[in-house]
């Protein structure tokens, strides 16, 4: 499944000129407020007709101003979670949830109502009208409504913005499963680097209507310079690792890669499976000698590949750990004190609790046209 966007569109004084292509399962749109994320999603969803350009999703031309193709929105089979929930005020929550389902041929339906309702914790709201729901409740119903339409393309515009961490923690795995177990491509707008790092297979960074960068998550997150200053502490290395062992006493999983072994708590991964692990630059301590007697379990030996300290007080150190790059963000003072220089052998020290549960690659195999072979959720 691929998404290819090449469009130009004017909105008042704002002009969107976005070109990118992604083959990923979940493409995150990332960028500051007003950079054109919602507009881009509206173009993909058919709510806006571009002044010029072409959008192709999974081989299907959704719009092409050159040939005059414009698939109307109701034929795109999208599940759009709007930034403003947009629930139908005259229907109950239950009716809102069932709305899209009604228009889906029974044979193409997936996801079951009860499961989604339970996941989102909106069972007690089914008979209410949306008018008096709380902000987070509205948002959850909006997510449910979009998912239950059994879409072939999911567009989510900051779906978790008004939810508490607990709720997010419940919903994120579901989105991961959607991403991994079904073949439905997802376009996901978020301001949270943590969310993006966890969910996205690909990222497109928007800035003032232009695509500043686009590519696989590991690439984009590693390039701290692509991220806005405040997001950089969320940036870092993404390593593909293999689960090699499991300690049941402490619930620890051992992951291995050429860079070395790391130990992760609370990760359910069958030995042998591949796991993506993100190591945030701000969570890495650089040591010139192997530390002893410390609680941090993960100590990766390596050599300094480069030091960048353009930005004020901090230095971004890249460590080559047996061919894999790990980034560390430390103070300039530390870098100087430790006498860090390219080529110096060092240790990257990481606390295990800072690992996110990462993208496991145990997806159903991709099989030709996604219309025929669709995975089932629940």
């Amino acid at each position: 499944m691929s998404l290819s966007v090449d469009i130009r569109h004017r909105l008042g004084a704002f002009s969107l000129d976005a070109v990118f292509e992604t083959g990923g399962r979940l493409t995150a749109l990332f960028g500051p407020s007003g950079s054109g994320k919602t507009s881009l999603v509206n173009l993909i969803g058919g709510l806006l007709r571009p002044d010029e350009g072409r959008i192709v999703a999974g081989g299907r031309v959704l719009v092409d101003t050159g040939t005059g193709v414009f698939v109307p929105k109701h034929k795109r089979r999208i599940g759009y979670v709007f930034q403003d929930a947009r629930l139908f005020p005259h229907m109950t929550v239950g009716q809102n949830l069932r709305y899209g389902r009604f228009f889906t041929p029974a044979s193409e339906r997936y996801g079951d109502m009860d499961g989604v309702v339970e996941l989102l914790g909106i069972g007690h709201l089914l008979d209410r009208k949306p008018g008096s729901l709380s902000g987070g409740e509205k948002q959850r119903v909006a997510i449910g409504r979009a998912l239950l339409a059994s879409p072939r393309l999911i567009l989510m515009d900051e779906p978790l913005a008004s939810l508490d961490e607990q709720r997010k923690a419940e919903i994120l795995p579901y989105i991961e499963r959607l991403r991994d177990e079904t073949k439905i491509p997802i376009v996901y707008v978020s301001h949270s680097a943590a969310e993006v790092a966890r969910l996205a297979t690909d990222i497109a960074v928007l800035d003032n209507g232009r695509v500043a960068a686009a590519g696989p998550t590991s690439e984009i997150l590693q390039r701290l310079d692509l991220l806005p200053a405040e997001e950089r502490s969320e940036g870092g290395a993404v390593l593909e690792m293999r689960a090699t062992g499991r300690d049941e006493t402490f619930g620890m999983t051992t992951l291995a890669s050429p860079a070395g072994e790391i130990h992760v708590a609370g990760l359910e991964a069958t030995p042998g499976s591949t796991v993506r692990v993100r190591i945030r630059a701000r969570d890495v301590i650089v040591a010139t000698e192997r530390p002893r007697g410390i609680s941090a379990l993960n100590i990766l030996p390596g050599r300094i590949a480069g030091i960048a300290s353009g930005n004020g007080h901090f230095a971004d150190v890249t460590i080559d750990c047996n061919g894999e790059a790990v980034s560390a963000r430390i103070t300039r003072q530390s870098a100087e004190m430790l006498g860090l220089a390219p080529g110096l052998p060092v240790f990257a020290v990481v606390k295990s609790v800072t690992f996110d549960r990462a993208n496991t690659a145990k997806t159903v195999p991709f099989a030709g046209d996604d219309r025929n072979a669709r995975g089932r959720v629940e």
Binding site: H90, Y99, F103, R145
Partner: protein, 234 residues
Amino acid sequence: MQWLLDLTPDEWNAVRLSIRVATVAMVFSLPPGILIALLLARGKFWGKSVLNGLVHLPLILPPVVTGYLLLITFGKRGPVGAFLDQYFGIVFSFRWTGAALACGVMAFPLMVRAIRLSVEAVDRRLEAAAGTLGANPLWVFGTITLPLILPGIIAGMILCFAKAMGEFGATITFVSNIPGETQTLPSAIYTFTQVPGGDEGALRLTIISIIIAMAALVASEVLARRVGKRLDVE
């Protein structure tokens, strides 16, 4: 009370006829009313001002003129009337159907305005949302737009009904005043006002007319409240 209900058969006929005429006028002008309200609120086409003007015409013209125009258009020899008669067997002249047509036409601007105001208040983003969920424009209209403009529709209907209960100038000019066929309450009331000493009869029929219209009004308010409650806002 007895005094009030002590009506002649012709008067009873007028009461029944008025209710029938008002109901039919209300029901049949609803679909075109909604259509034209939608066109005026959302359409962008050449001649929109002309359509808008046409819709308002019955309000602007003295009823007698409207009645006369109906007569020469929908009458037996009128272009439309002759056509409808020949091909569909629909006859308006001297029939209660003509009275309903006249009432419907006279009330049409009121109905269209009420619905149009509601249409203009609809948040179109909700319609877009329904579209993304797979509803084609017709379904969007039926499941989103229509329920959201219900307050306007109810208002339009009650305005139409009330107007039809009071309309008389165009009706009597178009289909005249045939007891049992086209003599509605207002025609009967008018007749009473034209004879010295007819005041009591006019008053009686007027009160009956008010009672009927008030019942419809209260029903419409209850309905509107129920629809409003369905929105269940803060």
